[in-house]
């Protein structure tokens, strides 16, 4: 990114103009109740932006803050451009988004905002946890690692501030950088054959990580063969929506789940009765789910489909975990264990409700 014409970045007499993007919660506009709010621009720093401004110090000014509801930002077509439009009104030299921690919608929004800003020639940088599912949408724009939760705000801002300085100066971001890093041409004293042999020798000595080209993070999943006739199949309902019996007897966590659980359907009812179950998922407002638990585990509709012959048989329990800041390692393990367990039970298809 070239510095805007006419400005000498870092020169004593010219202040770098920073616009900060935050979600509704960190902007103080409300919690899940405000997740649908459209973008709004505020003068100066807001919330954590104040600490960021302090860390950036002289020579930088957070001239404006754009905030937006997480749902609006993550699901409205053109959201990122609408947010950058507002940011652009304050004539920024740099756009900063986050820290988003492990919040999926917020991380997605931050990644798209900085990507949209960069597409318009605006230097930008985002901050989120390396497990944030939105990370890859930042493309080539620098993203720095934050802690996993808001409790780590101070340390996360400490890591973000130097990255803002670097981006504003057109320098590469190196410290705490996560996500895709664009390739840079470098002259090596060893030719490719020599480097390949060095890597092979490293492998033989037990270094399984050394590589010149990191493989992409995308998961490659071999799709299961289709079920010939669901009307004759045994089907299971599974969820990461955290739906458990009301007392949460096995203490399923609201975030960073370390376990998964299984609960039998009560065969007396046609569906899951409100009041007897609740969602413990900490990543969204569970009011609607608790009013009607079938919104998370659709037992009532599944039973009707069995009656109508669209499903052969419904497995008599649901498998559940909480998909909120779940570590990739745990999530992968849960999936493997679910597949093994369902296969052992003769289940042929699993319908997952994800939140």
């Amino acid at each position: 990114m070239t510095a805007p014409e006419g400005r000498s970045v870092g020169a004593a007499s010219v202040t770098v103009r920073v616009v900060h993007y935050l979600n509704q919660f960190f902007a103080g506009a409300g919690g899940e109740d405000a997740a649908g709010s459209p973008p709004a621009r505020h003068d100066g720093p807001v919330g954590p932006g104040r600490r960021l401004a302090q860390l950036l110090g002289d020579g930088f000014e957070v001239v404006a803050t754009v905030s937006c509801g997480d749902d609006w930002a993550a699901t409205t077509p053109g959201a990122a451009d609408a947010i950058v439009d507002l940011a652009a009104e304050a004539a920024p030299d740099v756009v900063v988004a986050g820290p988003a921690f492990t919040s999926g919608r917020y991380g997605l929004a931050c990644a798209r905002v900085v990507a949209a800003a960069a597409a318009r020639g605006l230097p930008a940088v985002a901050s989120m946890h390396e497990d944030n599912p939105g990370l890859d949408e930042a493309g080539a724009v620098p993203v720095v690692a934050s802690g996993p939760v808001a409790r780590h705000m101070a340390a996360s801002l400490d890591a973000l501030a130097p990255a803002v300085v670097a981006v504003a100066a057109g320098q590469p971001v190196v410290e705490h950088r996560i996500g895709k890093v664009p390739r840079v041409a470098k002259l090596s004293r060893y030719n490719a054959a020599e480097r390949a042999v060095h890597l092979l020798l490293a492998r033989l000595h037990g270094d399984t990580a050394a590589t010149e080209v990191p493989l992409p993070r995308f998961d490659s999943v071999t799709p299961a063969a289709p079920v010939a006739d669901p009307g004759h199949a045994l089907v299971a309902l599974v969820t990461e929506g955290g739906l458990v019996p009301d007392a949460n007897p096995d203490q399923l966590e609201s975030a960073r789940a370390t376990k998964w659980l299984r609960y039998g359907f009560d065969d007396h009812g046609r569906g899951l009765a409100p009041g007897r179950y609740r969602s413990v998922h900490g990543g969204f407002s569970t009011v609607a789910a608790n009013e009607d638990p079938n919104r998370i585990v659709p037992l009532d509709a599944a039973r009707r489909l069995v009656d109508q012959g669209a499903i052969g048989r419904l497995h008599g329990e649901w498998l559940v975990t909480t998909g909120n800041g779940t570590s990739v390692g745990n999530a992968r393990r849960f999936g493997v264990e679910w597949a093994g367990e369902l296969r052992r039970l003769g289940v042929q298809a699993a319908l997952l409700t994800a939140t």
Partner: protein, 67 residues
């Protein structure tokens, strides 16, 4: 069945059915109860059609619009 389809694609989920909201994957509280029940059934039917369909990679199956 999920709301953030781009994330499902990225993690390689082979069969994806878009839902109407993160807090209600199998619901739609903006609808009166009878219509919400109908939506839930159509969502599950779409999911069943998806598991009965051969796919090569992440594939999105949209629930057909209301009649």
């Amino acid at each position: 069945m999920c709301n953030l389809v781009s994330i499902a694609r990225r993690v390689g989920a082979p069969r994806i059915v878009p839902t109407r909201g993160i807090p209600w994957p199998a619901g739609d509280p903006s609808l009166p109860p009878a219509q919400e029940a109908d939506w839930r059934e159509r969502l599950l039917r779409t999911a069943l059609a998806a598991v009965a369909t051969h796919v090569e990679g992440p594939t999105v199956f949209e629930v057909a619009a209301d009649e």
